[in-house]
Assembly symmetry: C2
């Protein structure tokens, strides 16, 4: 993220909110709570919370009404990382330069820490006392959209197909399914959910949905590219791990050049869909530009 004061401030507030929402480490069962906090505070970029708050700002809404939702998105994201890293799935030892949850706490605790983070996310999203001036109708609508985005036809569906397609023949349709689902749907609902809580109108939601879909796919294409050409140290994970696992990636299906061009085209489309918002959309535009610019 371009760490301007704008994003730094959001990040501080998100980390503070996450610290309050997560159960204290010294409360029973302590190891579970320690594992939940360990992964949430392992140095994530907080991309999804930043998107939710920036979407709130583009609508001119009250940030207080969005911070708990933005934090819940990070809880969901962290659960997906913990479960994806498990030996039965991607079998990764490192995440953000640190041992993954199952490496540090053992497999059973990692599975349950993931389960508990997912459950906590829904507990937060449905805890009305956390949401200033948001109607129950709006809150339940946003929670429902989030559940749909991360279920068997969303995030989890993408991960299942990703695993199933390891060592498979290159297949652009399958690759698109994987990326739009595994990463794209949660990113999109981060933007639209933040905007809905801020009181957005339908045409605004429609434009932000296009923005979210385009940056979501661009983000994942860039991730694939970085797995080939990135800098191990700054990524905090092994380079070449996609190739080693026989993962289907954009560079492997389209080639490196076409992948870069596609990511650039998607970013342009994302920026276009922000035009109706004028200058208020600078933070969202900055995020789109950051996604394409990181490290290549």
């Amino acid at each position: 993220m371009p760490l301007t004061e704008y994003f730094k401030e959001i990040r501080r507030e998100i980390d503070k909110t996450l610290g309050t929402l997560l159960p204290p480490e010294n409360t029973y069962p302590a190891e579970l709570h320690e594992a939940m906090r360990y992964s949430v505070f392992a140095g994530g970029k907080r991309l999804r919370p930043m998107l939710a708050i920036s979407a709130c700002d583009v609508i001119g809404g009250d940030r207080k009404a969005v911070f708990p939702f933005a934090s819940a998105l990070e809880l969901v994201h962290t659960y997906t990382l913990i479960h994806d890293d498990l030996p039965a799935l991607d079998n990764d030892d490192l995440r953000r330069g640190q041992p993954t949850s199952h490496k540090k706490f053992g497999e059973s605790t990692a599975i349950m820490a993931g389960d508990a983070l997912l459950t906590l996310a829904f507990e937060v999203m449905t805890n009305r006392s956390l949401f200033n001036n948001v109607s129950a109708e709006t809150l339940i609508d946003v929670t429902s959209q989030t559940a749909l985005a991360i279920g068997s036809t969303g995030t989890i569906g993408g991960q299942v197909v990703d695993l199933a397609k390891e060592e498979a023949e290159p297949d652009l349709a399958a690759l698109e399914y994987i990326h739009t689902h595994k990463t794209g749907k949660l990113i999109t609902v981060s933007v639209t959910g933040g905007a809905t809580l801020a009181g957005a109108e339908k045409d605004q939601i429609d434009a932000l949905t296009q923005y979210g879909k385009n940056i979501g796919l661009a983000f994942q294409i860039v991730d694939d590219i970085l797995d080939v050409v990135g800098d191990e140290k700054s990524l905090g994970k092994d380079i070449g791990s996609d190739t080693a696992k026989g993962k289907m990636t954009y560079p492997s299906v389209l080639g490196m050049d076409e992948s870069r061009k596609l990511a650039a085209r998607l970013t342009d489309k994302a920026l276009q869909s922000l035009e109706m918002f004028g200058d208020d959309s600078t933070p969202l535009a900055d995020i789109a530009k950051y996604i394409i610019a990181r490290n290549f």
Copy 2:
């Protein structure tokens, strides 16, 4: 369950609702959807849905407003079974007489099928179009209570401590924590959630909370007893598996006689808390009596 026509009818309706709510097996990603359906339709007793509907009936509410919630409870329960059975947790090969999810579909699909069932449960609970005449306030309140009951200080907390206490010295406080959390909280919220959706008053909820807590603990004590003296075939799982794993159980801590007496005392207390409801509470009383009577 005493399979009177009353319970048979609920069971038919629950299975029908579950069939509609679960993604069709032939939809993408098919293996995931197959795994979700496999475990949900592996022959569960539907205890939690029966409790929710019987609680609705004791209040005199509209069952249509409760069936989707009751079905979501079964989705949650099934997710906990799939994850508990995993090699890293209880490592069970059989459940209800059939291969467990990871035995049939592999570990990664089992983990994700569990995740997807949990997520679907929240999608169902927050899908307003499924709930006739229930206000958004009530629905979000019940969803929030459910999330709290099954999180790190509820179901998951109980399971974590259960695993941590394998081979530990007998400890009644730890044992009570395990059972009131691992099983008790979801059972209690099944009763109170069903009653809340049916429009229950606070004193009714209080009485039903006591009922739920008492049958929840009684249920688990009986489960422990059946693991020692039960009939393998009718249970559909291996007898003696708790002992083999060094699990802390009521018979191992209190002895068989005291465990039976405690289960009977808890059942009596549960029946007492139904007194204010008169004859309308017959189904809930039947469930309490069934819990204590099954197989010993």
